[in-house]
Protein backbone atom coordinates (compact mmCIF):
# COMPACT_ATOMS: atom_id res chain seq x y z
CA UNK A 1 0.00 0.00 0.00
CA UNK A 2 1.96 3.00 -1.24
CA UNK A 3 1.49 6.48 0.15
CA UNK A 4 1.67 8.08 -3.31
CA UNK A 5 -1.34 6.13 -4.56
CA UNK A 6 -3.34 6.47 -1.35
CA UNK A 7 -6.96 7.51 -1.58
CA UNK A 8 -7.24 7.30 2.21
CA UNK A 9 -4.37 7.92 4.58
CA UNK A 10 -4.59 8.36 8.33
CA UNK A 11 -1.68 9.18 10.63
CA UNK A 12 -2.11 8.30 14.29
CA UNK A 13 -5.79 9.17 14.28
CA UNK A 14 -7.20 9.19 17.81
CA UNK A 15 -10.61 10.16 19.04
CA UNK A 16 -11.87 10.36 22.59
CA UNK A 17 -15.50 10.58 23.63
CA UNK A 18 -15.84 11.56 27.29
CA UNK A 19 -12.45 10.01 28.15
CA UNK A 20 -13.27 6.80 26.28
CA UNK A 21 -10.96 6.09 23.35
CA UNK A 22 -13.19 5.54 20.32
CA UNK A 23 -10.11 5.41 18.07
CA UNK A 24 -6.50 4.95 19.18
CA UNK A 25 -3.57 5.86 17.00
CA UNK A 26 -5.17 4.60 13.79
CA UNK A 27 -2.79 4.62 10.83
CA UNK A 28 -4.00 3.13 7.57
CA UNK A 29 -3.38 3.56 3.85
CA UNK A 30 -5.90 2.57 1.22
CA UNK A 31 -4.78 2.51 -2.42
CA UNK A 32 -6.89 4.12 -5.11
CA UNK A 33 -8.88 1.69 -7.22
CA UNK A 34 -9.04 -1.00 -4.54
CA UNK A 35 -11.57 -2.33 -2.06
CA UNK A 36 -10.57 -2.05 1.58
CA UNK A 37 -12.44 -4.11 4.16
CA UNK A 38 -12.64 -2.83 7.69
CA UNK A 39 -13.50 -5.63 10.10
CA UNK A 40 -14.42 -5.64 13.73
CA UNK A 41 -17.18 -6.52 16.18
CA UNK A 42 -20.05 -4.14 17.01
CA UNK A 43 -18.79 -0.96 18.68
CA UNK A 44 -15.22 -1.57 17.50
CA UNK A 45 -14.91 1.88 15.90
CA UNK A 46 -15.69 1.10 12.25
CA UNK A 47 -18.52 3.63 11.82
CA UNK A 48 -16.62 6.20 13.90
CA UNK A 49 -13.71 5.82 11.48
CA UNK A 50 -16.00 6.49 8.50
CA UNK A 51 -17.42 9.59 10.21
CA UNK A 52 -13.92 10.83 10.98
CA UNK A 53 -12.84 10.22 7.38
CA UNK A 54 -15.83 12.22 6.15
CA UNK A 55 -14.90 15.05 8.51
CA UNK A 56 -18.16 14.71 10.44
CA UNK A 57 -16.28 14.29 13.71
CA UNK A 58 -12.98 15.86 14.57
CA UNK A 59 -10.12 13.68 15.81
CA UNK A 60 -8.57 14.45 19.18
CA UNK A 61 -5.10 13.94 17.71
CA UNK A 62 -3.63 12.79 14.41
CA UNK A 63 -4.66 13.58 10.88
CA UNK A 64 -6.41 12.01 7.93
CA UNK A 65 -6.38 12.67 4.21
CA UNK A 66 -9.09 11.44 1.88
CA UNK A 67 -8.63 11.90 -1.87
CA UNK A 68 -5.82 14.27 -0.96
CA UNK A 69 -8.05 16.50 1.17
CA UNK A 70 -7.49 17.03 4.86
CA UNK A 71 -10.55 15.79 6.75
CA UNK A 72 -10.46 18.74 9.13
CA UNK A 73 -10.02 21.60 6.68
CA UNK A 74 -11.66 20.28 3.50
CA UNK A 75 -14.39 17.94 4.69
CA UNK A 76 -17.00 19.44 2.34
CA UNK A 77 -14.78 18.62 -0.66
CA UNK A 78 -14.45 15.02 0.57
CA UNK A 79 -18.20 14.66 0.96
CA UNK A 80 -18.73 16.20 -2.48
CA UNK A 81 -16.60 13.51 -4.13
CA UNK A 82 -17.59 10.50 -2.04
CA UNK A 83 -20.63 8.27 -1.94
CA UNK A 84 -21.77 7.18 1.51
CA UNK A 85 -24.06 4.50 2.82
CA UNK A 86 -24.11 4.61 6.60
CA UNK A 87 -25.46 2.07 9.07
CA UNK A 88 -29.08 3.15 8.46
CA UNK A 89 -30.26 3.35 4.88
CA UNK A 90 -31.36 7.00 5.33
CA UNK A 91 -34.31 6.67 2.97
CA UNK A 92 -37.39 8.85 3.33
CA UNK A 93 -40.03 6.20 3.85
CA UNK A 94 -42.98 8.40 2.85
CA UNK A 95 -41.38 9.18 -0.50
CA UNK A 96 -41.16 6.85 -3.48
CA UNK A 97 -37.89 5.27 -4.64
CA UNK A 98 -37.80 7.71 -7.55
CA UNK A 99 -38.35 10.71 -5.26
CA UNK A 100 -35.65 9.54 -2.87
CA UNK A 101 -33.16 9.36 -5.72
CA UNK A 102 -34.47 12.60 -7.24
CA UNK A 103 -33.83 14.42 -3.95
CA UNK A 104 -30.23 13.27 -3.79
CA UNK A 105 -29.71 13.89 -7.50
CA UNK A 106 -30.76 17.49 -6.81
CA UNK A 107 -28.41 17.61 -3.82
CA UNK A 108 -25.56 16.37 -6.04
CA UNK A 109 -26.53 19.06 -8.54
CA UNK A 110 -27.00 16.58 -11.37
CA UNK A 111 -28.45 18.60 -14.28
CA UNK A 112 -32.21 18.15 -14.71
CA UNK A 113 -31.88 16.58 -18.19
CA UNK A 114 -29.44 13.90 -16.91
CA UNK A 115 -31.24 13.26 -13.62
CA UNK A 116 -34.12 11.20 -14.96
CA UNK A 117 -31.89 9.06 -17.18
CA UNK A 118 -29.46 8.32 -14.34
CA UNK A 119 -32.29 7.39 -11.95
CA UNK A 120 -33.81 5.14 -14.61
CA UNK A 121 -30.44 3.50 -15.25
CA UNK A 122 -29.86 2.77 -11.55
CA UNK A 123 -33.38 1.59 -10.73
CA UNK A 124 -33.48 -0.58 -13.85
CA UNK A 125 -30.17 -2.11 -12.83
CA UNK A 126 -31.64 -3.30 -9.52
CA UNK A 127 -34.91 -4.32 -11.14
CA UNK A 128 -37.05 -1.70 -9.39
CA UNK A 129 -37.80 0.76 -12.20
CA UNK A 130 -41.35 -0.58 -12.62
CA UNK A 131 -41.98 0.00 -8.92
CA UNK A 132 -40.38 3.46 -8.78
CA UNK A 133 -43.62 5.24 -7.78
CA UNK A 134 -44.17 3.10 -4.67
CA UNK A 135 -43.36 4.48 -1.23
CA UNK A 136 -40.21 2.78 0.01
CA UNK A 137 -41.65 2.51 3.51
CA UNK A 138 -43.67 -0.52 2.43
CA UNK A 139 -40.67 -2.32 0.95
CA UNK A 140 -38.48 -5.10 2.39
CA UNK A 141 -35.17 -4.26 4.04
CA UNK A 142 -33.27 -5.74 1.12
CA UNK A 143 -35.11 -3.62 -1.45
CA UNK A 144 -34.54 -0.48 0.59
CA UNK A 145 -30.86 -1.33 0.92
CA UNK A 146 -30.57 -1.68 -2.86
CA UNK A 147 -32.13 1.77 -3.39
CA UNK A 148 -29.85 3.25 -0.72
CA UNK A 149 -26.80 1.80 -2.45
CA UNK A 150 -27.96 3.21 -5.78
CA UNK A 151 -28.43 6.58 -4.06
CA UNK A 152 -24.77 6.71 -3.13
CA UNK A 153 -23.76 5.87 -6.71
CA UNK A 154 -25.93 8.62 -8.27
CA UNK A 155 -23.12 11.13 -8.78
CA UNK A 156 -20.51 8.56 -9.87
CA UNK A 157 -18.23 9.05 -6.85
CA UNK A 158 -14.52 8.25 -6.91
CA UNK A 159 -14.66 6.79 -3.43
CA UNK A 160 -17.51 4.95 -1.75
CA UNK A 161 -17.93 4.33 1.96
CA UNK A 162 -20.21 1.40 2.67
CA UNK A 163 -21.12 0.62 6.26
CA UNK A 164 -22.47 -2.94 6.42
CA UNK A 165 -23.97 -2.76 2.91
CA UNK A 166 -25.15 -6.37 2.71
CA UNK A 167 -26.90 -6.39 6.06
CA UNK A 168 -30.45 -7.51 5.36
CA UNK A 169 -29.78 -8.63 1.81
CA UNK A 170 -30.59 -12.14 0.63
CA UNK A 171 -27.73 -14.29 -0.76
CA UNK A 172 -28.69 -13.58 -4.38
CA UNK A 173 -28.78 -9.81 -3.80
CA UNK A 174 -25.52 -10.01 -1.87
CA UNK A 175 -23.81 -11.79 -4.74
CA UNK A 176 -25.28 -9.33 -7.23
CA UNK A 177 -24.07 -6.35 -5.17
CA UNK A 178 -20.64 -7.94 -4.86
CA UNK A 179 -20.40 -8.27 -8.64
CA UNK A 180 -21.57 -4.68 -9.12
CA UNK A 181 -18.97 -3.32 -6.72
CA UNK A 182 -16.19 -5.40 -8.28
CA UNK A 183 -17.33 -4.18 -11.70
CA UNK A 184 -17.18 -0.56 -10.60
CA UNK A 185 -13.67 -0.98 -9.28
CA UNK A 186 -12.54 -2.80 -12.42
CA UNK A 187 -14.28 -0.61 -15.02
CA UNK A 188 -14.41 2.83 -13.43
CA UNK A 189 -11.49 2.78 -11.01
CA UNK A 190 -13.73 3.47 -8.04
CA UNK A 191 -12.26 2.87 -4.56
CA UNK A 192 -14.36 1.31 -1.82
CA UNK A 193 -14.04 1.48 1.95
CA UNK A 194 -16.24 -1.30 3.27
CA UNK A 195 -17.10 -2.19 6.84
CA UNK A 196 -18.68 -5.54 7.46
CA UNK A 197 -18.99 -8.52 9.78
CA UNK A 198 -19.03 -10.84 6.82
CA UNK A 199 -15.50 -12.22 6.54
CA UNK A 200 -16.34 -14.32 3.52
CA UNK A 201 -17.43 -11.15 1.74
CA UNK A 202 -14.14 -9.45 2.56
CA UNK A 203 -12.15 -12.46 1.38
CA UNK A 204 -14.04 -12.54 -1.93
CA UNK A 205 -14.09 -8.81 -2.61
CA UNK A 206 -11.33 -6.91 -0.88
CA UNK A 207 -7.73 -6.30 -1.89
CA UNK A 208 -6.73 -5.37 1.63
CA UNK A 209 -8.29 -5.24 5.07
CA UNK A 210 -7.87 -3.95 8.58
CA UNK A 211 -9.12 -5.44 11.82
CA UNK A 212 -10.19 -3.07 14.56
CA UNK A 213 -11.49 -3.60 18.07
CA UNK A 214 -12.09 -1.11 20.88
CA UNK A 215 -10.70 1.61 18.61
CA UNK A 216 -7.37 -0.15 18.11
CA UNK A 217 -6.10 -1.43 14.81
CA UNK A 218 -5.09 -5.05 15.39
CA UNK A 219 -4.04 -6.05 11.90
CA UNK A 220 -3.62 -4.45 8.48
CA UNK A 221 -2.53 -5.76 5.12
CA UNK A 222 -3.53 -7.42 1.89
CA UNK A 223 -5.86 -10.39 2.25
CA UNK A 224 -3.04 -12.82 1.40
CA UNK A 225 -0.70 -11.12 3.88
CA UNK A 226 -3.27 -11.42 6.62
CA UNK A 227 -3.98 -15.08 5.90
CA UNK A 228 -0.25 -15.83 5.85
CA UNK A 229 0.59 -13.76 8.89
CA UNK A 230 1.81 -15.02 12.26
CA UNK A 231 0.97 -18.62 13.05
CA UNK A 232 0.02 -19.63 9.50
CA UNK A 233 2.52 -22.48 9.65
CA UNK A 234 0.51 -23.93 12.51
CA UNK A 235 -2.68 -24.59 10.55
CA UNK A 236 -3.14 -28.25 9.70
CA UNK A 237 -5.78 -30.59 8.37
CA UNK A 238 -5.87 -33.85 10.32
CA UNK A 239 -7.68 -36.92 8.97
CA UNK A 240 -8.62 -39.65 11.40
CA UNK A 241 -10.95 -42.54 12.10
CA UNK A 242 -14.44 -41.49 13.32
CA UNK A 243 -14.26 -39.56 16.60
CA UNK A 244 -16.94 -39.87 19.28
CA UNK A 245 -18.69 -36.74 20.62
CA UNK A 246 -17.07 -37.29 24.04
CA UNK A 247 -13.58 -37.19 22.52
CA UNK A 248 -14.57 -34.16 20.44
CA UNK A 249 -15.69 -32.32 23.59
CA UNK A 250 -12.34 -33.17 25.20
CA UNK A 251 -10.43 -31.81 22.21
CA UNK A 252 -12.42 -28.58 22.19
CA UNK A 253 -11.43 -27.67 25.73
CA UNK A 254 -7.73 -28.58 25.33
CA UNK A 255 -5.25 -25.71 25.55
CA UNK A 256 -2.63 -24.88 22.92
CA UNK A 257 -4.74 -25.22 19.78
CA UNK A 258 -8.11 -24.31 18.31
CA UNK A 259 -10.32 -26.50 16.19
CA UNK A 260 -11.39 -24.26 13.31
CA UNK A 261 -13.47 -26.82 11.41
CA UNK A 262 -14.37 -30.43 12.03
CA UNK A 263 -16.35 -33.36 10.77
CA UNK A 264 -16.38 -36.89 12.23
CA UNK A 265 -13.20 -37.86 10.37
CA UNK A 266 -11.53 -34.53 9.63
CA UNK A 267 -10.19 -31.62 11.68
CA UNK A 268 -8.75 -28.24 10.76
CA UNK A 269 -6.53 -27.29 13.66
CA UNK A 270 -4.86 -23.98 14.37
CA UNK A 271 -2.10 -24.43 16.92
CA UNK A 272 -0.87 -21.57 19.08
CA UNK A 273 2.40 -19.98 17.93
CA UNK A 274 4.46 -21.54 20.75
CA UNK A 275 3.23 -25.09 20.14
CA UNK A 276 4.43 -27.42 17.38
CA UNK A 277 2.03 -29.68 15.49
CA UNK A 278 3.70 -32.78 16.95
CA UNK A 279 2.57 -31.70 20.42
CA UNK A 280 -0.97 -31.24 19.14
CA UNK A 281 -0.92 -34.65 17.44
CA UNK A 282 0.38 -36.23 20.64
CA UNK A 283 -2.42 -34.62 22.67
CA UNK A 284 -5.01 -35.88 20.19
CA UNK A 285 -3.64 -39.42 20.27
CA UNK A 286 -3.70 -39.33 24.09
CA UNK A 287 -7.34 -38.26 23.87
CA UNK A 288 -8.10 -41.37 21.83
CA UNK A 289 -8.04 -40.08 18.24
CA UNK A 290 -6.71 -42.51 15.65
CA UNK A 291 -4.88 -40.24 13.24
CA UNK A 292 -4.55 -41.25 9.57
CA UNK A 293 -2.87 -38.21 8.00
CA UNK A 294 -1.63 -34.72 8.89
CA UNK A 295 -1.35 -32.04 6.16
CA UNK A 296 -0.61 -28.35 6.14
CA UNK A 297 -3.73 -26.29 5.43
CA UNK A 298 -4.45 -22.77 4.23
CA UNK A 299 -6.00 -20.50 6.81
CA UNK A 300 -9.16 -18.61 5.96
CA UNK A 301 -9.56 -14.93 6.80
CA UNK A 302 -12.12 -15.93 9.41
CA UNK A 303 -9.53 -18.11 11.16
CA UNK A 304 -7.03 -15.28 11.09
CA UNK A 305 -9.66 -12.87 12.43
CA UNK A 306 -10.54 -15.22 15.29
CA UNK A 307 -6.90 -15.82 16.12
CA UNK A 308 -6.28 -12.06 16.27
CA UNK A 309 -9.26 -11.62 18.57
CA UNK A 310 -8.19 -14.56 20.75
CA UNK A 311 -4.64 -13.28 20.99
CA UNK A 312 -5.62 -9.71 21.88
CA UNK A 313 -8.56 -10.32 24.13
CA UNK A 314 -7.83 -13.79 25.52
CA UNK A 315 -11.28 -15.09 24.59
CA UNK A 316 -12.26 -18.14 22.63
CA UNK A 317 -14.42 -16.78 19.79
Amino acid sequence: MSKENSIIRTNGLSLNFLNVAALSDLSINVDAGTIFGFLGPNGAGKTTTIKALLGLIKPTTGSAFVMGYNTQSSSEKIRASAGVLLEHNGLYEMLSAEENLEYFARIWAIPANERKARIKQLLTHIGLWERRKEKVGSWSKGMKQKVAIMRCLLHRPKLIFLDEPTSGLDPVSTASLRNDLLGMVRDEGVSIFLTTHNLDEVEKMCNSAGIINKGQLLALGTIDDLKNAGDKANVYRISCNPVSPIVLNQLQIMKGFTIAEYSVTDFKVSADESISISVVVQKMIEAGVEIIAVNKAERSLEEFYLSVMNKNYGKRY
Partner: protein
Protein backbone atom coordinates in the same frame (compact mmCIF):
# COMPACT_ATOMS: atom_id res chain seq x y z
CA UNK B 1 -25.95 27.11 -2.28
CA UNK B 2 -29.22 28.34 -3.81
CA UNK B 3 -29.76 25.04 -5.62
CA UNK B 4 -28.98 23.15 -2.38
CA UNK B 5 -31.60 25.16 -0.50
CA UNK B 6 -34.08 24.64 -3.35
CA UNK B 7 -33.48 20.88 -3.19
CA UNK B 8 -34.26 20.82 0.54
CA UNK B 9 -37.41 22.94 0.14
CA UNK B 10 -38.51 20.64 -2.72
CA UNK B 11 -38.11 17.55 -0.54
CA UNK B 12 -39.84 19.11 2.47
CA UNK B 13 -42.94 20.10 0.47
CA UNK B 14 -43.03 16.69 -1.13
CA UNK B 15 -42.76 14.93 2.23
CA UNK B 16 -45.26 17.31 3.82
CA UNK B 17 -47.97 16.33 1.37
CA UNK B 18 -47.35 12.59 1.75
CA UNK B 19 -46.42 12.36 5.42
CA UNK B 20 -49.57 13.83 6.94
CA UNK B 21 -52.18 11.33 8.05
CA UNK B 22 -55.73 11.66 6.76
CA UNK B 23 -56.77 12.79 10.25
CA UNK B 24 -54.30 15.66 10.33
CA UNK B 25 -55.16 16.59 6.73
CA UNK B 26 -58.85 16.87 7.75
CA UNK B 27 -57.87 18.92 10.83
CA UNK B 28 -55.89 21.34 8.66
CA UNK B 29 -58.73 21.72 6.14
CA UNK B 30 -61.27 22.33 8.93
CA UNK B 31 -58.99 24.94 10.55
CA UNK B 32 -58.46 26.71 7.23
CA UNK B 33 -62.21 26.64 6.53
CA UNK B 34 -62.99 28.15 9.94
CA UNK B 35 -60.37 30.92 9.76
CA UNK B 36 -60.68 31.45 6.03
CA UNK B 37 -64.46 31.38 5.62
CA UNK B 38 -66.54 31.09 8.80
CA UNK B 39 -64.72 33.69 10.91
CA UNK B 40 -64.77 36.62 8.42
CA UNK B 41 -68.37 35.93 7.39
CA UNK B 42 -69.34 35.89 11.04
CA UNK B 43 -67.52 39.16 11.81
CA UNK B 44 -69.07 41.02 8.87
CA UNK B 45 -68.08 43.25 5.93
CA UNK B 46 -65.57 45.24 8.01
CA UNK B 47 -63.43 42.19 8.69
CA UNK B 48 -60.39 43.66 6.92
CA UNK B 49 -60.56 46.80 9.10
CA UNK B 50 -60.41 44.84 12.34
CA UNK B 51 -57.01 44.45 14.09
CA UNK B 52 -58.19 40.91 14.82
CA UNK B 53 -57.86 40.13 11.10
CA UNK B 54 -54.10 40.90 11.21
CA UNK B 55 -53.66 38.83 14.32
CA UNK B 56 -55.46 35.84 12.84
CA UNK B 57 -53.79 36.14 9.41
CA UNK B 58 -50.34 36.20 10.97
CA UNK B 59 -50.58 34.07 14.10
CA UNK B 60 -52.91 31.37 12.70
CA UNK B 61 -50.37 30.06 10.18
CA UNK B 62 -47.55 30.47 12.69
CA UNK B 63 -49.35 28.26 15.21
CA UNK B 64 -50.15 25.76 12.45
CA UNK B 65 -46.45 25.72 11.63
CA UNK B 66 -45.63 24.31 15.10
CA UNK B 67 -46.52 20.76 14.13
CA UNK B 68 -44.55 20.93 10.90
CA UNK B 69 -41.43 22.79 11.97
CA UNK B 70 -40.63 20.48 14.86
CA UNK B 71 -40.28 17.49 12.58
CA UNK B 72 -37.65 19.18 10.45
CA UNK B 73 -34.60 18.17 12.49
CA UNK B 74 -35.64 15.97 15.38
CA UNK B 75 -37.95 14.01 13.05
CA UNK B 76 -35.12 13.38 10.61
CA UNK B 77 -32.88 12.35 13.47
CA UNK B 78 -35.55 9.94 14.79
CA UNK B 79 -35.92 8.37 11.36
CA UNK B 80 -32.10 8.22 10.85
CA UNK B 81 -32.20 10.30 7.67
CA UNK B 82 -30.29 13.28 9.08
CA UNK B 83 -26.97 11.41 9.19
CA UNK B 84 -27.18 10.62 5.47
CA UNK B 85 -27.93 14.28 4.77
CA UNK B 86 -24.95 15.37 6.86
CA UNK B 87 -22.73 12.91 5.02
CA UNK B 88 -23.72 14.43 1.68
CA UNK B 89 -22.11 17.45 0.05
CA UNK B 90 -24.59 19.83 1.68
CA UNK B 91 -23.14 22.42 4.02
CA UNK B 92 -24.63 23.00 7.47
CA UNK B 93 -25.80 26.43 6.32
CA UNK B 94 -27.66 25.01 3.31
CA UNK B 95 -29.43 22.43 5.44
CA UNK B 96 -30.48 24.95 8.09
CA UNK B 97 -31.48 27.66 5.60
CA UNK B 98 -33.38 25.15 3.45
CA UNK B 99 -35.41 24.02 6.44
CA UNK B 100 -36.06 27.62 7.53
CA UNK B 101 -37.17 28.61 4.05
CA UNK B 102 -39.57 25.68 3.91
CA UNK B 103 -41.10 26.66 7.28
CA UNK B 104 -41.45 30.31 6.17
CA UNK B 105 -42.91 29.29 2.80
CA UNK B 106 -45.37 27.02 4.61
CA UNK B 107 -46.59 29.81 6.93
CA UNK B 108 -46.78 32.45 4.18
CA UNK B 109 -48.59 30.04 1.85
CA UNK B 110 -51.19 29.36 4.52
CA UNK B 111 -51.59 33.13 5.09
CA UNK B 112 -51.99 33.73 1.36
CA UNK B 113 -54.58 30.92 1.19
CA UNK B 114 -56.46 32.30 4.21
CA UNK B 115 -56.54 35.82 2.79
CA UNK B 116 -57.71 34.57 -0.61
CA UNK B 117 -60.49 32.60 1.12
CA UNK B 118 -61.34 35.69 3.25
CA UNK B 119 -61.73 37.83 0.12
CA UNK B 120 -63.87 35.25 -1.70
CA UNK B 121 -66.05 34.49 1.34
CA UNK B 122 -66.62 38.15 2.26
CA UNK B 123 -67.47 39.16 -1.29
CA UNK B 124 -69.83 36.23 -1.71
CA UNK B 125 -71.58 37.17 1.52
CA UNK B 126 -71.48 40.98 1.52
CA UNK B 127 -70.68 42.25 -2.00
CA UNK B 128 -72.67 45.35 -2.95
CA UNK B 129 -71.04 47.73 -5.40
CA UNK B 130 -67.29 47.40 -4.89
CA UNK B 131 -65.04 44.47 -4.10
CA UNK B 132 -64.32 44.10 -0.38
CA UNK B 133 -60.56 44.09 0.00
CA UNK B 134 -57.88 45.74 2.17
CA UNK B 135 -55.86 48.80 1.14
CA UNK B 136 -52.42 48.46 -0.54
CA UNK B 137 -50.89 49.96 2.64
CA UNK B 138 -52.52 47.24 4.77
CA UNK B 139 -51.31 44.63 2.30
CA UNK B 140 -47.74 45.92 2.64
CA UNK B 141 -47.88 45.91 6.45
CA UNK B 142 -49.44 42.46 6.44
CA UNK B 143 -46.78 41.07 4.11
CA UNK B 144 -44.03 42.54 6.23
CA UNK B 145 -45.43 41.35 9.57
CA UNK B 146 -46.26 37.96 8.15
CA UNK B 147 -42.81 37.36 6.69
CA UNK B 148 -40.86 38.43 9.76
CA UNK B 149 -43.17 36.70 12.23
CA UNK B 150 -43.02 33.51 10.18
CA UNK B 151 -39.24 33.82 9.95
CA UNK B 152 -38.92 34.39 13.68
CA UNK B 153 -41.29 31.51 14.48
CA UNK B 154 -39.42 29.22 12.06
CA UNK B 155 -36.12 30.09 13.72
CA UNK B 156 -37.49 29.45 17.20
CA UNK B 157 -39.10 26.21 15.99
CA UNK B 158 -35.89 24.98 14.42
CA UNK B 159 -33.84 25.94 17.48
CA UNK B 160 -36.21 23.80 19.56
CA UNK B 161 -36.20 21.00 16.97
CA UNK B 162 -32.40 20.76 16.93
CA UNK B 163 -32.25 20.39 20.70
CA UNK B 164 -35.32 18.20 21.24
CA UNK B 165 -34.97 14.49 21.94
CA UNK B 166 -38.25 13.48 20.28
CA UNK B 167 -40.76 15.14 17.95
CA UNK B 168 -43.43 15.06 20.68
CA UNK B 169 -41.16 16.71 23.21
CA UNK B 170 -40.24 19.37 20.65
CA UNK B 171 -43.87 20.10 19.79
CA UNK B 172 -44.78 20.49 23.44
CA UNK B 173 -41.86 22.83 24.14
CA UNK B 174 -42.67 24.86 21.06
CA UNK B 175 -46.39 25.18 21.80
CA UNK B 176 -45.61 26.41 25.31
CA UNK B 177 -42.92 28.80 23.95
CA UNK B 178 -45.31 30.29 21.39
CA UNK B 179 -48.06 30.71 23.94
CA UNK B 180 -45.64 32.56 26.22
CA UNK B 181 -44.46 34.71 23.31
CA UNK B 182 -48.05 35.61 22.36
CA UNK B 183 -49.39 36.14 25.88
CA UNK B 184 -46.39 37.63 27.67
CA UNK B 185 -45.83 40.92 25.77
CA UNK B 186 -49.39 42.31 26.36
CA UNK B 187 -49.11 41.35 30.04
CA UNK B 188 -45.71 43.01 30.34
CA UNK B 189 -46.86 46.16 28.60
CA UNK B 190 -49.91 46.34 30.86
CA UNK B 191 -47.77 46.07 33.97
CA UNK B 192 -45.00 48.44 32.97
CA UNK B 193 -44.57 51.54 35.16
CA UNK B 194 -46.72 54.46 33.94
CA UNK B 195 -43.83 56.80 33.26
CA UNK B 196 -42.07 54.15 31.13
CA UNK B 197 -45.10 53.58 28.90
CA UNK B 198 -45.57 57.32 28.73
CA UNK B 199 -42.00 57.88 27.50
CA UNK B 200 -42.30 54.95 25.13
CA UNK B 201 -45.56 56.11 23.54
CA UNK B 202 -44.28 59.70 23.34
CA UNK B 203 -41.22 58.43 21.47
CA UNK B 204 -43.32 56.42 19.03
CA UNK B 205 -45.72 59.34 18.49
CA UNK B 206 -42.82 61.65 17.75
CA UNK B 207 -41.47 59.58 14.88
CA UNK B 208 -43.08 59.13 11.48
CA UNK B 209 -44.77 55.87 10.56
CA UNK B 210 -41.97 55.17 8.05
CA UNK B 211 -39.34 55.58 10.79
CA UNK B 212 -41.36 53.39 13.16
CA UNK B 213 -41.73 50.79 10.43
CA UNK B 214 -38.01 50.86 9.62
CA UNK B 215 -37.04 50.70 13.30
CA UNK B 216 -39.29 47.71 13.89
CA UNK B 217 -37.91 46.02 10.80
CA UNK B 218 -34.33 46.59 11.97
CA UNK B 219 -35.06 45.20 15.43
CA UNK B 220 -36.66 42.10 13.89
CA UNK B 221 -33.76 41.61 11.48
CA UNK B 222 -31.21 41.86 14.31
CA UNK B 223 -33.20 39.43 16.48
CA UNK B 224 -33.61 36.99 13.55
CA UNK B 225 -29.92 37.09 12.67
CA UNK B 226 -28.92 36.52 16.29
CA UNK B 227 -31.18 33.46 16.51
CA UNK B 228 -29.89 32.19 13.13
CA UNK B 229 -26.30 32.43 14.37
CA UNK B 230 -27.27 30.58 17.53
CA UNK B 231 -28.97 27.85 15.46
CA UNK B 232 -25.93 27.34 13.24
CA UNK B 233 -23.71 27.04 16.31
CA UNK B 234 -26.12 24.61 17.99
CA UNK B 235 -26.50 22.59 14.82
CA UNK B 236 -22.75 21.98 14.67
CA UNK B 237 -22.55 20.83 18.26
CA UNK B 238 -25.77 18.80 18.48
CA UNK B 239 -26.72 17.42 15.08
CA UNK B 240 -23.38 15.67 14.64
CA UNK B 241 -23.90 13.55 17.71
CA UNK B 242 -25.68 10.94 15.65
Amino acid sequence: MVSDIKAIVWKEWREFFFQQSIKSKIQTIVLIAVIGVALPVNKGAHWFDLPFFYGVAVMGPVLMMVTVVCDLFVGERERHTLETLLASRLSDKSIVLGKILFAVSYATSITALLIALNIIALNLAYYKSSILIFSPRSALILTFINFFTAFLAALIGIAVSIGAKTVKQGQLTLTVSFLILVLLPPLLIKNLPNNFTHVFSRFYNSISSVTAFTLTALILIVVNLAILKFILYRFKTMAYNF
